[in-house]
């Protein structure tokens, strides 16, 4: 009997610990969402009432509108770029056999492990020389670089499970190489591609580490504007923007979770 009680106490302690960790993970995000509805200019928590004034302020501000448009445009550019390059590469790396395959796999994933400040500084110095600082193409390339490894890794998970017999069957039935890729290979890679596309979009939407150095006055993305603002002031309009950014990610994720298991790609 005493042993049973002891077992239960241990289990309960484990659950309590886990709950504490989950609370730790979610607390900063919850605080932001709640304070974004504050009716006053203070970030006091819990807020003294409910209002949408900070949302109205942010959505009505021309500066923020420019940033929202820029961030949206970047996602629309970065996702197709990285998905096309990353899918082809992941397929070749997982299924091909050619010298240097391992080296290339390492290279493809290495931007993930290099400290972000080096990538940022490298691009800053490089873009200075070629006139891409403070430009849309510059940010497009920079975000694509940061997002690519996520796409490659996600698609490689699907590509590694791909059975080449299916492709050979299609070939022996008379399909050309392109047709095989389009009608057999691509559908089989779909879960990985979808997960990769989500990760690429979310990465671009939230990127600051590299953006902070290569962007400029004309190319202030939404998170970069939050970054600069947070260093000087704390007001609920930033919480409102953060909540909007989070909402965008959550919507994408919930929709995508119906089609792909992002968990496997991470």
């Amino acid at each position: 009997m005493g042993e049973r009680a002891y077992d239960r106490a241990v289990r309960l302690a484990g659950v309590a610990l886990a709950a504490a960790v989950f609370l730790f993970l979610i607390a900063p995000l919850v605080v932001l969402v709640v304070s974004s509805f504050s009716p006053t200019g203070s970030m006091a928590f819990p807020p003294s009432g409910f209002s949408l004034r900070w949302y109205a302020e942010v959505l009505g501000s021309p500066d923020w509108q420019v940033s929202f448009r820029l961030s949206g445009l970047l996602v629309l550019l970065v996702v197709p770029t990285t998905v096309v390059i990353g899918t082809l590469a992941a397929y070749g790396l997982a299924q091909g056999s050619f010298p240097g395959r391992r080296l290339l796999t390492g290279l493809a994933l290495s931007p993930l492990m290099v400290p972000e400040i080096i990538i940022a500084l490298g691009l800053l110095y490089y873009f200075h020389g070629v006139g891409l600082i403070n430009s849309l193409p510059g940010l497009w390339l920079a975000h694509s670089l940061v997002a690519l490894p996520f796409v490659v890794r996600a698609v490689m998970v699907s590509a590694a499970q791909l059975d080449p017999v299916l492709e050979r069957a299609a070939t022996s039935l008379g399909a050309g190489r392109f047709r095989v890729f389009r009608t057999v290979t691509l559908p089989l890679l779909r879960p990985g591609i979808l997960a990769g596309a989500i990760l690429a979009g979310v990465t671009s939407l939230g990127e600051v580490a590299v953006t902070a150095l290569v962007a400029g006055a004309n190319t202030t993305t939404v998170p970069l504007r939050v970054f600069s603002a947070v260093q000087y002031q704390l007001d609920p309009s930033m919480a409102a923007v953060s909540t909007l950014l989070m909402a965008a990610s959550v919507v994408v994720m919930v929709v995508a979770d119906r089609f792909a298991r992002i968990s496997e790609a991470l």
Binding site: V10, G14, A18, A20, V21, F22, F24, L25, P28, L29, V31, L32, S35, S42, A44, F45, I85, L88, A89, L93, A94, Q95, G96, S97, F98, L107, A108, S110, V114, P115, E116, I119, L121, G122, L124, Y125, Y126, S144, L145, L148, L162, P164, V180, V202, G206, E207, V208, A209, A212, L213, V226, F227, V230, L234, M238, S242, S249, V250, M253, S263
Partner: protein, 292 residues
Amino acid sequence: MTSAVPGTGAVRRGWWYVLPLAVFLVALFLVPLVRLLRLSFSPVGPYNAALPGWTLSQYARVFTEPYFYGSLLRTAGTALLVAVLCVLLAYPAAYALARRRAGVLRTLLFVIVISPLLTSVVVRTYGWVVLLSGTGVVNRALVATGLRDQPAQLLTSYPAVVIAVTHVLLPFAIIPLTTALGGLDRNLHRASQTLGAGPVRTFLRVTVPLSLPGVVTGALIVFALAMGIYITPLLVGGVTQPLTGIRVYDQVSTVFDYPVAAALSFALLALTVVSTALLAGVFRIWERRLHG
């Protein structure tokens, strides 16, 4: 696993598929890195402008001025601390996730775990800025419970940096650990308990050793990422925190000394690679000991 036999797949010459990626990475990753490396060997003239020629003086500065080398040591120490904290915090969360059967609660918990990955680092960090500010929740709780007479200066402090960085990197420890714990054979637990071991002993002698690969993966990823992170410590800790990422950012954005910033960042890269490899070696020895 399917690609081992050469010449059998439909993509015998698979390198064609990798070509666009290779071109992209050479142009935007390798070339910038090589040019940055070259810059780190450049002398500087008036107003910190980089001059042609070669010198080791930037590296000499990095390794003799405490402002720079001190930040490297502090960064490595911080990364180690954060890796340990992340593994410790990840364990209960991953354990709860792995043991829960598929259902609404599991999905919810999983969303909580990956939500930091899907929200901008700025947003997550801003949450901590709000929590830790003078009028924030943490401070008011401290005052209300009588632990302190007046709000503490939590922001711009080193503990705030450790807390926020741990939070930002925690999912990278939870995910591999959940995978490792989820793959464990539950019969082993039962066997251990039938043989008379209590839950604690079973956990320490069966679960932990078997989940070690997940712990190692998570710890190494968190350590490497913590070495290079700079936005989060900058926002919660301020520009005076003695961490290398912040020092590099400061050299570039306010001092405009690019060559020394380049040298410092390559010192950071070297330290990251060497210490990650060392850690991996230590883990391998530890694992071999555990499994005899």
